[in-house]
């Protein structure tokens, strides 16, 4: 299931909905991405320099849903999943706010974990979202990270 929304989501409720009433799920892996308050100079490791006041996520309505659905379908082709979920927010968010939730349920834990990792890696490089940071030094579009490309490429040879 795919959702693109401005509102926050309730992680516990969303995860419970994937497994409640089912007895065929052995593992549920999830990832929540949150807004951090520090900028990373050059995309390297954070120096704890707190300077992000807010973050605005822009996206491409229509293509976003289409890409997320394609990515989710690809995960289900690669791993035997019982359920999966991607929720991605857009609009203005504050440090500590949730941005994205990815979750995969499977009979076997490794399938759930691998699929969840795949979903977030591919989402990061294929879903049309862009982050605008509001920092003390002004607004700044977040640059794509080479490390994200490398993490996504891991899944190409599968």
């Amino acid at each position: 299931m795919i959702r693109v929304q401005t509102e926050d989501f309730d992680v516990g409720r969303e995860l419970a909905a994937l497994t409640d009433g089912r007895t065929d799920i052995g593992g549920l892996a999830s990832f929540v991405g949150l807004v951090r308050d520090f900028v990373e100079p050059g995309g390297g490791t954070g120096d704890g320099n707190a300077s992000i006041r807010a973050m605005t996520l822009e996206h491409y309505p229509g293509m976003t849903e289409k890409m997320l659905a394609e990515i989710e379908a690809e995960a289900s082709r690669r791993w035997p999943l019982q359920a999966s979920l991607v929720i991605h927010r857009h609009g203005r968010l504050l440090p500590g706010d949730r941005i994205v939730l990815v979750a995969c349920a499977a009979a076997h834990r490794e399938d759930a974990i691998q699929a969840c990792s795949f979903l977030i890696d591919w989402l990061k490089t294929k879903a049309p979202f862009w982050k605008l940071e509001d920092t003390r030094e002004g607004e700044r579009w977040v640059a794509a990270k080479e490390s994200d490309d490398l993490l996504a490429e891991r899944w190409l040879k599968k």
Binding site: E58, Y60, A127, P128, W130, K131
Partner: protein, 83 residues
């Protein structure tokens, strides 16, 4: 043909969406970018560094050689940074 711009491409072009009617010899995404870059200083600035421009045709990623035609929805944007 509808062209959409996102993130800093949108800011540099000055609009998020425009309808364009390129001449018949604009047959690929790359040729469209060349033609758009000549429209204004903002367009030129947005499209200056082609390595930072990603293209979607009808909501699918496409390369510079991909054909474009009347009625297509072309989107131009920087590398994505969601998640």
């Amino acid at each position: 043909m509808k062209v959409l711009y996102f993130a800093w491409l949108r800011q540099r072009v000055g609009v998020g969406e425009e309808t364009v009617n390129p001449p018949a010899d604009v047959a690929t995404a790359g040729q469209l970018l060349d033609w758009l870059a000549a429209k204004s200083a903002g367009h030129a600035e947005a499209l200056k560094n082609r390595s930072l421009v990603r293209i979607a045709i009808n909501q699918e990623f496409a390369g510079l050689d991909a054909p474009v035609k009347t009625g297509d929805e072309i989107a131009l944007f920087p590398p994505v940074t969601g998640g």
